[in-house]
Each structure stands twice: as C-alpha cells, then as structure tokens.
C-alpha cells in the first residue's frame, strides 16, 4: 500500500470516524453527552476484554518468546519519562513539578490508543502478537513512579499526609486503580483459563468489541474536544512537545520491539504504546501525589494533543517504521 492509501485506511475506519464525530459534536455544541455510567461500563468492558484476550494468548506463548519484549517494555517505561522530562525542562523551561507530572503521562500508556493500533493492524492485514495487552499492563506503572520521583526530587517524603500529595495513596491508586486491576486481572483470568475455556465468553467479549470501541471513541472525541479550549493557554511549544516527543518515543519503541524479536506488527504496536500518553491512570495518580501540578497542562497535552495526533497520524507512521526496521 502507498502511504496515502495507508493513511486513508486509518482515517476511514469507524473508530477514527467516531472520534471525529465526537469532536464535531462538541464543536457545534450538540447536547450529545455520554452518561457517566455508560462511560464507566464501556471502559470496564474494553479493559477486561483486552486483558482476557491477552491472557489467553499468553497461555499459549512460550515464556522465552515473551521475556524479551516484556523486559524491553519495562525498560522503555523507565526511560521515556526521563526523555520527556529532559525535553520539558530544557526546551520548554517548565518547572519541575509540572514537568514531572507530564513525564508520568508520556511515559505511561493509553489503552485506547493501543486498541486503535490493533484495529489498524487488523484493517491492513498486519498480524500482531496476541500477548500485547500484557505489555500494556507492564508499561503503565513504572513511568508514573518515575515521573512522580522526578517531580518531587529530593523532597519526596513517603507517607506524607493530607493537603499536599501522599505517595502511599498515589501508588495505591495506580496499582489498584481500575485500569491496572482490570487489565492485569483480565490477563490473569485469560492465562489461567486458557484459550479453550474462553470460548463461551467470546461471543460477548470478542464479537462486541469493535462496536464498543467505536462508541468509546465517540466519547473520547467529545472529551478531547473540550480540552481544545485550553490549547490557546497551552501554547505552541506544548503542541510541539505533544507531537514530537511521541514520535521520538515511537521510533524508540518500534526499534526496541524489533530488536526484542517482535514481529513487524508487534513492533509497530509497541511503538504506539510507547508513543501514547496516559490520560486515565496517570492523571489520577498525579492529581493525588502532585495536586499543585496543573491538570490543564497535562490533560490538554495527553488528551487534546497527543491522543488525536497518534490516532490520526502516529499509528500509520509507526506501522510504516516497523516495516522499514523489520525489512
């Protein structure tokens, strides 16, 4: 496929179109609104479904195949907050607290971006390792810890109490938060049950999946467009950060994935994971541990800039890179 065709395949997918519809709905001030319980239900369904699928795939994957990519993923989770932090401090002259908060977001991962990448792989016929959801779980937490450490620096006081952020509380929130709990729990369930015993639940979790994802992306469009209001305040530098740093991280991820022995599709998805910025687990933890960091900065960057960028342009680019590195 030519680059134009690849880009078109991505832009014309229901998932990306639904996101566009959500953005349009907010821009024309439609009364369309996702009720909170629906948003919660969809995210529970999606997170558990990817966990189950990944776990079932993991149960038939030899450990030796999984160890390399897993190690590389954790390593990337530790390195990418450092690169993001360095760029924010040096190029954007951002203060330590906000830079650390953003670093946590850019090192961590967005599950929805992951799903969009898998969808894209399916649409273009590029096979992807089934155990990738396990890598999502591995990538989520380390970066948040590194980001918080960077922000607090030497002033970190474990167990620090009310008012300002509490470490223990923030860590508890990340590890027991619904995204990790459902993802890790789903992987464990799928792995313990094994591929065959998953058959009865497949009609619900597999057949409905793309539809649920499309609905979820509609909501993401609504929410992301609301963040666009803050773009003016954020400024051009943040836009540059929110698009360039993901590309750098994406290149790093695709390359590391290729080296670790992932297939072309697997490396492209790992690149996408590394390029994506968290907007569920990281904000929750940062809000608790670094209440003085500005949500308008980190949410605008991860949700208003990086998420749409990856969805529209980033994913096809990471797939193209993977085919170059792999070939």
């Amino acid at each position: 496929m030519s680059p134009a065709e690849i880009l078109a395949t991505n832009l014309l997918s229901p998932v990306v179109l639904a996101f566009g519809l959500g953005v349009a709905a907010t821009l024309v001030r439609s009364d369309l609104e996702f009720p909170e319980p629906l948003y919660q239900s969809l995210s529970i369904y999606l997170l558990l479904a990817i966990g189950l699928k990944g776990g079932a795939a993991l149960s038939v994957t030899p450990l030796t195949v999984f160890v390399g990519p897993a190690a590389v993923t954790v390593l990337l989770g530790l390195v990418t907050p450092l690169t993001a932090f360095a760029v924010l401090r040096a190029a954007l002259r951002m203060d330590r607290i906000n830079a650390g908060a953003l670093a946590a977001h850019y090192g961590s991962v967005s599950a929805v971006t992951f799903l969009a990448a898998v969808s894209f792989g399916e649409a273009t016929g590029v096979p992807i390792e089934g155990f990738m959801p396990a890598l999502v779980a591995l990538l989520e937490v380390p970066a948040i810890v590194v980001g918080l450490l960077l922000a607090r620096g030497a002033h970190a006081r474990p167990g620090e109490g009310e008012g300002s952020g509490s470490w223990a509380h923030a860590l508890h929130e990340v590890i027991t938060g619904k995204s990790i709990l459902l993802l890790v729990g789903g992987v464990a369930m799928g792995w313990i049950a094994g591929k065959e015993r998953m058959t009865p639940v497949e009609p619900f979790f597999v057949a409905g999946f793309q539809g649920a994802l499309t609905l979820f992306l509609l909501e993401m469009g609504l929410v992301a467009a609301r963040r666009l209001r803050d773009l003016k305040e954020a400024g051009l530098l943040l836009v540059a950060f929110g698009t360039l740093v993901p590309v750098v991280h994406g290149v790093l991820g695709v390359w590391a994935g290729t080296v670790a022995g992932l297939s072309e599709g697997g490396a492209a998805v790992l690149g996408t994971l590394v390029a994506s910025a968290s907007y569920i687990a990281a904000p929750a933890a940062v809000r608790i541990a670094l209440p003085e960091a500005k949500p308008s900065l980190y949410l605008t960057a991860s949700l208003g800039i990086t998420f749409p960028f990856n969805l529209v342009l980033g994913i096809p680019v990471y797939f193209a890179l993977a085919s170059i590195f792999g070939g």
Partner: protein, 98 residues
C-alpha cells in the same frame, strides 16, 4: 419540642477528596453525615468532574468546637484542590445525637 444549638458544616469538594474528607470528619467527632453528588462551577474554572466524577457535598451536624476543627482540617486542601466549607447555625432536637 425543645431545640438546642448545633452547627451545620457543609463541604463542597471535588470527587478526589471524598473519602479523605469523610474519614477526617468522622475522626474529628462527627457522628454522621449526608453525602450528595453535586454539579457546579467554582472560582478555579477547572472542572474536575470531567475526569473524576461529580463533585460531592458533605453535610454534617456537629457541636461548635467540632465544627471549628473540621474547618481547620478542610483548610489544608484550599491551596491545591477545589473545595469550600461553610458553617450554618442550626437548631436540633435530640442534641446528644450530634
């Protein structure tokens, strides 16, 4: 019926603080409370409810000295969080309940 004086403490806070505040007011001597999910906008402009769920209103009837302590405890969150607290005089029956 005979009524006695008590103080109604009302806290309106972002969702994030819900559990911490409830724990705190109990520890400071509130014997009960009412919790409602609420919507609105404050001076911060940042609407946390987009991410963390609706804000909460916590109301509790307490003795005046407990009310003072609760206000002090809530004040620790003023700098970085969306939260307000105010006191109202109330008349209650069965004052020993509060």
């Amino acid at each position: 019926m005979e009524t006695k004086n008590a103080t109604m403490v009302t806290i309106v806070a972002e969702r994030l603080l819900r559990d911490r505040l409830v724990e705190k007011i109990r520890a400071l001597g509130a014997k009960g409370f009412t919790l409602t999910e609420v919507q609105g906008e404050g001076s911060r402009g940042w609407q946390a409810h987009e991410f963390e769920g609706p804000s909460v209103k916590i109301e509790t009837l307490v003795r005046a000295e407990v009310a003072e302590k609760i206000v002090e405890a809530v004040a620790k969150y003023f700098e970085h969080h969306a939260v307000i607290v105010y006191l109202t005089d109330a008349k209650v029956v069965r004052v020993r309940k509060f």
